[in-house]
C-alpha cells in the first residue's frame, strides 16, 4: 500500500526539505501527542492508531540523512501527483465551460470556491487547457461502444448495471438496451448479475432502501485506509458473486487479518470490514441496499459537475454535452443520461438549455452499429454458451445430489463418479476441489471420532472399575450422540446393552454386604432392589431373603415399639408398625400389629387434642381465670372425652398456681 509521505504527515517543508534534526524531532513529538489524543476518537481513532504505528518508521527515516533525502524526493513527486489529481478535476469542470469557447470570470470564481484553491491555480489551468484545445481536434462523442474486447465490454456492462442499481433494481428494458448496445445476449447479461430484475420502471416506486449512512461512512473510512473502492474490491471478488462466496471470503480475510497477530490499524480495519461484509452480504435485501448506496455515491461526481455548470440558475446548452459525457462514462445509457440531467436540474429549479436534435442522432448511430455486430459475434458466442450451459446443468445436478446426502462417504463417492465420467474442464476443477474438501473432512472426522472414542473408552473403563455403570452408560451415549455414524457405534451399543445386567449383579451383590443386624436397612434395600429391577435375575432370591427374615424383623420391631411406647413416642410407634405392615402384610403377625397400630393412633390423636387445648389456654394470656374457662368449656361440651382426666389435671395445676401467687 502506498503510504502517506512523512514530510506531509509532519507538516514539514519539502521545498527546500527540512534538515534540522531538532525541528524534525519536535515535529514528531507534536504529532505523537496529537495522535495519542485521537487514539480513542470515535471516528478518527483508527487513523490515529495507524499513524502511531508508523512512528518508529518515521523516526528511522526522518532522522537518517540518506533515507530522509529519498523521502523528500518522494514527497515532491507525490505532491505533484496530488496536484495533478486536483487539476484533473478542475480540468473536467473547465472542459464543461470551454464547450462554449471561453471561461468567464464568474466561472473562475465559482471553481475557486468549489475546489478551495488560489485563483492563480485556476488561471494556470485555464492557460494550459487553452493550449491543449488548440492542438487536439475535438473528438466525436458517443461512438465505439461495441468495439473492443469482450472483457472490456463486460466491464462496461458491469459499470452500467451498477449505476442503474440506484433505484434498487434493474429492468428488462435496460438489459435489452445494454444487450443491443454491446451486442451481447440478454441471457449473458442476466447471468452476470445478481441484481433484482423487474419488468418495467415504476415511476410511483418509493425510494429504494440504502444502507445506514453512518455505516456507509464507517465502511468507507476503513476502505479508504486499505485503499479499496468497494467491499467487492476488498474481498477481491466480482460484483456478481454469490452471497455464500462473499461471506466465505470475508470470513477468510478476517481470520487472516487476525492471524497476522499484529495490533495495527490495517488489521483492525480489515477485521471491521469483514464484520460488515457478514452483515451486508447476509441476504439479498441487505446486499441490494449496499449496491444502491454505492450507485448513489458514484453519482456524486456527476452531481458536482452539474452544480459546477450552473450559473445563476441556468445551464447553458453548450455544457450539456460535457455533462452528458460524464454521465455516460459513469455507465448511463445515452437517453438515460439526458433524463437524469434533466431531472436533476428540474429538482434544483435550474433551467437546462438542451439541443434536442443532437440527442436523437447519437442514439440512431449507436443502434445501427450494434446490429451489424450481432450478426458476426452472436453466433460464436451462442455455441460456446450452449455447451457451457449443458455442463453447468450437469454439474449443478450432481451438486444437488451431493448436498442431499448426509454421509460424507456417499458425498465423496458421488463426486468421484462424476469426476470419472467427465473430461477435465471448469466444472470438473470445481468438483475436484469439492472432492478434496470432503476427503479432508472425512479424515478430520475420523480423527475426531478416534480420539473421542479413545477418550470415552478410557473414561468408561474407569467407571467400570468403580462399578459406576450408569456413568459409563452416559459416556457411551454421549459418544453415540456426537458420532451417530462413528466407527465404534456398534461396539458401544453392545456395551450399553450389557449394562442393565451388570447393574443388576452389582445391586444384588450390594444387598449381601449389609450388616445382618441392620434389619431396617436390609429390608428397605431388598425392597428397593425389587422396585428397581422388575425383571431382575435375583428377584426370587431377594424375595426369599425377605421372607427368611420375617421372624427376626418382627422381634426387632416389637422391641423398638416397646421402647417408644414407654416414652409415649406415638409417632415413632406408628411408623414402626407401618414399616412391618408394608413388608409383611400377609404374615400371621400382621393382625396383631394392626391392632397395636390402632391403639397408638388413638393415643396420638388424644395427645394432639390435649396439646391443642393447652395452646388455646395459653393464648388467652396470663389470665388464669380465662385459661381455666377454656378447659371447663371443653369438658362441658365433651363430658366423655378420652382426655377428660388429663384436662382435669391441667385445671388442678392452674388452681395450684393461683393459690401460690395469691
Amino acid at each position: 500500500m502506498t503510504q502517506q509521505n512523512f514530510f506531509q504527515l509532519l507538516n514539514l517543508s519539502v521545498d527546500p526539505p527540512e534538515e534540522d534534526a531538532k525541528i524534525i524531532k519536535a515535529a514528531i513529538k507534536k504529532k505523537q501527542t496529537a495522535w495519542s489524543r485521537f487514539r480513542n476518537h470515535p471516528t478518527k481513532g483508527i487513523q490515529a492508531k495507524r499513524f502511531l504505528d508508523l512512528i518508529p518508521e518515521i523516526r528511522k527515516v526522518m532522522l537518517d540523512p540518506v533515507l530522509r533525502k529519498e523521502e523528500a524526493r518522494k514527497a515532491k513527486r507525490q505532491q505533484h501527483v496530488k496536484d495533478e489529481l486536483k487539476a484533473s478535476e478542475i480540468d473536467r469542470h473547465l472542459a464543461i465551460y470551454f464547450t462554449k469557447g471561453r471561461v468567464t470570470d464568474d466561472e473562475i470564481k465559482k471553481l475557486q470556491t468549489l475546489h478551495s484553491v488560489e485563483v492563480e491555480t485556476i488561471l494556470r489551468r485555464v492557460i494550459q487547457k487553452e493550449k491543449e484545445l488548440a492542438s487536439i481536434p475535438s473528438s466525436v462523442p458517443g461512438t465505439a461502444k461495441n468495439s473492443g474486447t469482450l472483457e472490456e465490454k463486460l466491464v462496461a456492462i458491469d459499470k452500467s448495471l451498477g449505476i442503474q442499481m440506484r433505484k434498487g433494481y434493474i429492468t428488462n428494458e435496460e438489459i435489452s438496451s445494454l444487450a443491443e448496445t454491446y451486442s451481447i445476449s440478454q441471457d449473458e447479461i442476466i447471468n452476470r448479475t445478481t441484481y433484482p430484475v423487474r419488468e418495467n420502471n415504476n415511476p410511483t416506486d418509493i425510494e429504494p432502501k440504502t444502507i445506514d449512512k453512518t455505516i456507509e461512512k464507517v465502511i468507507n473510512r476503513n476502505l479508504k485506509l486499505l485503499e479499496k473502492s468497494s467491499l467487492y474490491e476488498f474481498l477481491d471478488l466480482p460484483v456478481n458473486s454469490g452471497l455464500e462466496s462473499l461471506k466465505n471470503r470475508a470470513e477468510k480475510l478476517r481470520a487472516k487479518a487476525i492471524a497476522a497477530g499484529q495490533k495495527n490499524a490495517i488489521v483492525t480495519a480489515s477485521a471491521e470490514l469483514a464484520g460488515h461484509c457478514s452483515t451486508i452480504f447476509k441476504s439479498e435485501k441487505t446486499r441490494t441496499a449496499y449496491d444502491v448506496s454505492k450507485a448513489l455515491a458514484d453519482l456524486d461526481a456527476l452531481n458536482t459537475d452539474i452544480a459546477a455548470a450552473e450559473m445563476e440558475g441556468v445551464i447553458r446548452a453548450e455544457y450539456f454535452e460535457a455533462l452528458h459525457k460524464t454521465a455516460t462514462e459513469l455507465g448511463m445509457g445515452a437517453d438515460e443520461a439526458c433524463s437524469y440531467i434533466e431531472a436533476y436540474c428540474l429538482d434544483k429549479n435550474w433551467v437546462l438549455k438542451s439541443k434536442q436534435k443532437r440527442r436523437r442522432q447519437v442514439r440512431l448511430y449507436a443502434t445501427a452499429a450494434a446490429s451489424v455486430f450481432i450478426v458476426i459475434a452472436g453466433t460464436i458466442l451462442m455455441f460456446q454458451m450452449l455447451k457451457h450451459n449443458r455442463l453447468k446443468n450437469e454439474y449443478q445436478s450432481v451438486l444437488a445430489h451431493v448436498k442431499n446426502q448426509t454421509q460424507l462417504e456417499k458425498k465423496r463417492d458421488l463426486l468421484s463418479a462424476y469426476l470419472d465420467t467427465h473430461d477435465q474442464g471448469k466444472f470438473t476443477d470445481k468438483a475436484e476441489k469439492k472432492f478434496e474438501r470432503i476427503q479432508i473432512k472425512i479424515k478430520k472426522r475420523n480423527a475426531i471420532d478416534k480420539r473421542d472414542y479413545e477418550k470415552a473408552l478410557k473414561q468408561a473403563t474407569g467407571f467400570h472399575e468403580e462399578k459406576a455403570y450408569e456413568k459409563a452408560g452416559v459416556i457411551y451415549k454421549k459418544y453415540l450422540k456426537n458420532h451417530p455414524q462413528g466407527h465404534h457405534v456398534d461396539a458401544f451399543k453392545q456395551k450399553i446393552a450389557v449394562i442393565p445386567g451388570l447393574i443388576d449383579d452389582r445391586d444384588f451383590q450390594n444387598l449381601t454386604l449389609i450388616s445382618p443386624q441392620d434389619f431396617e436397612k436390609r429390608i428397605t434395600a431388598y425392597n428397593t432392589y425389587l422396585t428397581n429391577h422388575p425383571e431382575g435375575k435375583y428377584r426370587d432370591q431377594t424375595e426369599k431373603m425377605i421372607s427368611d427374615m420375617s421372624r427376626d424383623y418382627y422381634r426387632y420391631i416389637a422391641r423398638k415399639i416397646k421402647i417408644n411406647e414407654k416414652e409415649k413416642n406415638w409417632e415413632e410407634c406408628i411408623r414402626l408398625c407401618d414399616s412391618y405392615l408394608t413388608f409383611y402384610k400377609e404374615s400371621d403377625r400382621a393382625v396383631d400389629i394392626e391392632g397395636e397400630r390402632y391403639f397408638f393412633q388413638k393415643q396420638l390423636d388424644n395427645s394432639q387434642l390435649l396439646e391443642g387445648l393447652m395452646q388455646m389456654a395459653s393464648r388467652v394470656g396470663r389470665n388464669n381465670v380465662k385459661a381455666r374457662q377454656v378447659y371447663l368449656d371443653y369438658l362441658s361440651a365433651n363430658p366423655d372425652s378420652p382426655i377428660k382426666y388429663e384436662v382435669k389435671r391441667e385445671i388442678a395445676k392452674l388452681d395450684k398456681r393461683r393459690s401460690k401467687y395469691r
Binding site: 501527542t33 464484520g275 475426531i448
Partner: protein
Amino acid sequence: MSEQATKIFGIDLGTAYSSIAHVDEHGKAQVIPNSDNQRVTPSVVFFDEGEIVVGDVAKENSKLYPNEVVSFVKRAMGEADFAFEYNGESFRAEEISSYIIKKVVQDAEQALNEKITDIVITCPAYFGINEREATQKTGEIAGYNVRQIINEPTAAAIAYGATQSDDPRIVLVYDLGGGTFDITMIEILPDSIEVICTGGDHNLGGKDWDDRIVAHLAQEFQNITGTDMDILEDADTCQDLQIAAEKAKKILGQRTKTPVVITHGGERVKVELTREKFEELTESLVERTIAFTHEMLEKAKEKGYSIFDEIILVGGATRMPQISSRISKDFSVTPKIFDPDEAVAKGAAIYGSKLSLNDELIKRIAKKTNIEIKEDSGVVEQAKVIELTPKKIVDEAVQEVAQVTGYSLPAVEESMRAIKDVTSKSFGVVVKNVGKQEEVYNLIQKNSHVPIDVTKQFFTGAELQETVLIRIMENDVYDQVVPLNHATEIGTAVLTLPPGLPKESPVQIFFKMNVEGRLQITAMESTESRTVEAAIKTRSVVQGEQLEEAKERCQSLVVY
C-alpha cells in the same frame, strides 16, 4: 486474619471500569466499594493542575476539559508510541493506568481500614507478552507487589466455579468488556479449573458500540441542520456525545427508544434513537464476536472438545439484549449472565487468597517434612509438593492454616484446586529456511497449556560464524512455520560462539513459559555449552530509568 499470611487483593483493571475485591473472613469474595460507595470505578483519569482525579468525577469533567482527561487507556497498553502530554510532561499508558490502581486500592484501604500491599491484576486472555508486561509494570508503578497477572476469563470461571456445585462441566466464557472481547472454553472439574482454548479481539468492546452511536448522532446532526461540518472535530462535543452514547446504549437495553440531545455551536438538536436503529448500526460488531466464537470452537474440537455444557456471559457489555439473543440463535443454549461487573475482580480475589493460603500450607508442610521449598516456587511446584506429601501431614497443615487464618476448612481445601491456563499466542524464533528465506519457527503453540518447556535444535548458517542473533517472535498462528510479516518481535539475544566452528553447528534453544504466560528463553551452543539468556525487553514497555521515574512520580502524586 493472622499476621503471618499476607492478604492478596484482586483487581479488575478494565478498559471502561475497574474494581477491587477481597475474600472476607467468611471465605466469600466481595467487591469493595469506592469512596463514592460505588462498586465499580470508571477507568478515567483527569489531570487537574498537579492533582490526579480518577473515576466518576474525572468522567464528568471530561466534557469540560477533554484535553486533560484520558479514557480507555487500556487500549494503548503495550503501545510504544502512545504518549499523553500534560504540562510538558509525557505519560505512558502504564503510568496512567497505575493511577487507576492507586485509586481503587486507596479507597479499599479506607473502606476496610487495613493496609494493602499485595495484589493480583487481571488482563484479557488475548493480551500478548508486551501488554502483560505492561500490566505488571502498572501495578509496580502504583507501588504494590504484583503477585500475579491472571486472565480475565479464567478469573470469571474461578468466581463462577466457586458458586456452583462440583459437577464437572465445560463452560464457554463470553467476555465482552469495555474495550476487549475474549471467548474462552474452560473445563471445571472438582479438583481443577482448566482452560482449554481461548481467542478474541483486543479491539472490540462496548466502546465500539458507543462509537457507532456517536457517528450516527453526528450524521443526524448534519441531516437535521443541513450543514456538512463534522461536529466530532470539536473535542467538547465529541466527549459529550461519547458519554451520551454510553448512557443511551444502556437505556436501550431496557427500553425500545430514547431521546438524545446534541448541542454544538449554539445549536440544539434532539434525536430519537431506537433500539432497532442501534442494533442495525452495531450488527456487524456482534457478528465479529460470533465469528470468533466459532473459530475458537473449531480449535477446541481439534483438541477433542466438541461439546460444551453452558455459556456464561461476563463483562458489562453483555447486558445488551442483542448479545444473548444472537448467541441463543447460533448455539441453541440460553446463555447465563453471570455477575457481569464483578465476576472478574472476585475471581482474582479468590485466586489471591488461594495464593496466600497456599503459601501458608507449603510453609507448614515444609516444616513438618523438613523438605526445603523455594520461597518463590510456582503454583505448579506447590501443587506437586502437596501431592507427594502423605495425606495425614497435609490434613494437619490444612487444619493449622484454617485455625490461624480463621478461614473454614473447606475454604482452605478449596485453595488446593488446581488452575491450568493456556497461552493465547504462539512463540518462536526467526530462522532461515532452505531457500535462505527468513521465517518464524514456532516452539510454543497458541492454546498450549502453561507452564510449558520446549527445546529445539537449530544450526548455524555459515562457517566460522561468530555470533547467533536470536529474535523472539509472537504471533497468532497455529502453524509450525509462519511468514515473518505475520509475527511481532518481542525480544532479541546474541549468542557468542567459540571460534572456529564449522557450518551447521548445533545451537539449542529453550523456551520456558510459566503459569503467568511469561517467557524465559535460553540459547546454548553445544561444543563449549556457552549459554545466553534472552531478555524480553522491548520498547513497548516502560523500563529502566523511565520506570523508576514513573514510580517516583506516582509516589509523590495525590490521587483522588
